[in-house]
């Protein structure tokens, strides 16, 4: 038991690795805000393409979502980070992560938006446009608020997945939370920094996971 506590819950080592982990947490938060924001915006455009009346646009956006939902995000990340330099394109780890996860997230967000947009009755579009609103105004002021409200739990649970996804950036040595914890582990030969990182993720995400469950239960009732 002692050896277990020493290996996983060593307070001394945790305290020493705390500054490094906070630095990593800051990077993780930056990554999250970039990736979530871009994913939410990109996903909306893909979803609109998905519901377009032009067939070619529909096919392209369905192909896009299916392609990037079929590829594991880590494969996409490695392909962009390790593959593109062969084509003479050198990018920073941060940019590689943002691009790879944007492609991945926007596909998932697009599917959520699509479900939301479908849930808004067609009459809403017609009514809004007949009052003289342009299609863009109708979308922003009338349809989107309702669509988002209808799929809020799914948007939220997708966002939880995005935050968890950022831990993959450690594989290409971007010094975010998990990477720094791994560094601390390899210096101390002790898993406590990793456990501490896990606790950080729990503090960050447990409330969101609870919220998702809460929303889902309310929708079911």
């Amino acid at each position: 038991m002692d050896i277990f506590i020493d290996q996983f819950f060593n307070i001394d080592i945790m305290r020493k690795s705390l500054p490094l982990l906070f630095k990593g947490l800051w990077m993780t938060l930056q990554l999250c805000s970039a990736v979530i924001l871009l994913g939410l915006i990109g996903g909306l455009f893909v979803a609109l393409g998905n519901m377009s009346e032009r067939r070619w646009l529909r096919w392209i956006s369905i192909g896009y979502t299916d392609l990037f939902r079929a590829l594991p995000p880590l494969v996409l990340l490695i392909f962009i980070y390790a593959g593109l330099p062969f084509a003479g394109i050198n990018i920073s780890p941060f940019a590689a992560v943002v691009i790879a996860f944007l492609l991945n997230n926007s596909s998932y967000y697009a599917e959520v938006y699509r479900a939301g947009l479908i849930s808004v009755a067609k009459g809403q579009w017609e009514a809004a446009e007949s009052t003289g609103l342009s299609p863009a105004q109708t979308l922003i002021h009338v349809v989107l608020p309702q669509a988002v409200r209808n799929v809020l739990p799914d948007l939220l649970s997708n966002t939880v997945e995005v935050v968890k996804l950022t831990s993959l950036a450690s594989v290409i040595s971007l010094s975010e939370l998990l990477y720094n914890a791994g560094m601390a582990r390899s210096v101390t030969y002790n898993a406590s920094p990793l456990v501490l990182a896990a606790l950080f993720y729990l503090v960050l995400l447990w409330p969101l996971v609870r919220l998702v469950s809460h929303f889902q239960r309310r929708l079911a009732a």
Binding site: F8, L67, R69, I78, I118, E161, G182, N190, L194
Partner: protein, 227 residues
């Protein structure tokens, strides 16, 4: 050499492809084996937990809910690293594939439990009461009345979740499991060519694209009666 030729040479080099195809195929085999084990174990465990939860034993439910919450909140890679690097020092030596299997199955179980539980919750109370009133007892009502309905509701979200988690077998490359991605990165550093990476992308698409399309179809089929 034109730009196009150089592009093909870098990403679709036939010699490199021929040389590393056996490695990639071996990787596909590893990926599929672990994925199959994860799916079976994860769904079975998730279903068992959801059934247990429906008995309404307070202490037990507290632990089930905590387990499901924690494994839905933690990034799998963190748990993988803790098991892989931490456990040997307390005398538990787990192989890379074993760690990958345990963590992904545990993650899938957490999500599956929530999905099946949502299915159970949507079965009307009157059906439970009717089942028990006809003398079936709680366990048989659970098995014959509630379960079939819960499973039917659970299938579309479950398929999506299973897909997302089987794709995570690629995380094995971080702990030296020789699945598709790690075979490809090894081949890439040996050959000095990006072609093996392209091969891994193609391999994943061959495996997962049909599943994504099937999932889309399943969802569109059930969309009209969505909650």
């Amino acid at each position: 050499m034109t730009a196009m030729e150089r592009f093909l040479e870098t990403f679709f080099n036939p010699t490199v492809m021929a040389k590393y195809t056996p490695d990639i195929i071996a990787g596909i085999w590893v990926t599929l084996t672990i994925a199959a084990a994860v799916i079976v174990a994860g769904i079975a465990a998730g279903l068992a937990l959801a059934c247990l939860r429906s008995y309404g034993i307070r202490v037990l439910n507290f632990f089930i809910i905590c387990y499901a919450d924690i494994f839905r909140a933690l990034p799998p890679l963190v748990v993988i690293l803790i098991l892989y690097f931490g456990f040997p020092s307390i005398g538990i030596q787990l192989s890379g594939p074993m760690v990958l299997f345990i963590v992904l199955a545990a993650t899938l179980a957490a999500f599956a439990e929530e999905i099946f539980w949502a299915g159970f919750s949507s079965v009307e109370k009157g059906q439970w009461e009717a089942g028990i009133a006809t003398g079936l007892g709680f366990t048989r009502t659970l098995a014959y009345v509630a379960l079939p309905q819960a499973v039917r509701l659970a299938i579309p979200p479950l398929v999506n979740r299973v897909l997302a988690i089987t794709k995570m077998t690629a995380l094995g490359s971080a702990i030296g499991v020789s699945e598709i991605l790690s075979s490809a990165t090894t081949a890439q550093s040996f050959s000095g060519s990006a072609t093996p990476l392209t091969m891994s992308v193609v391999a994943y698409l061959v495996i997962f694209l049909p599943m994504v399309v099937i999932a889309r179809w399943l969802e569109s089929r059930t969309a009209w009666k969505k909650r």
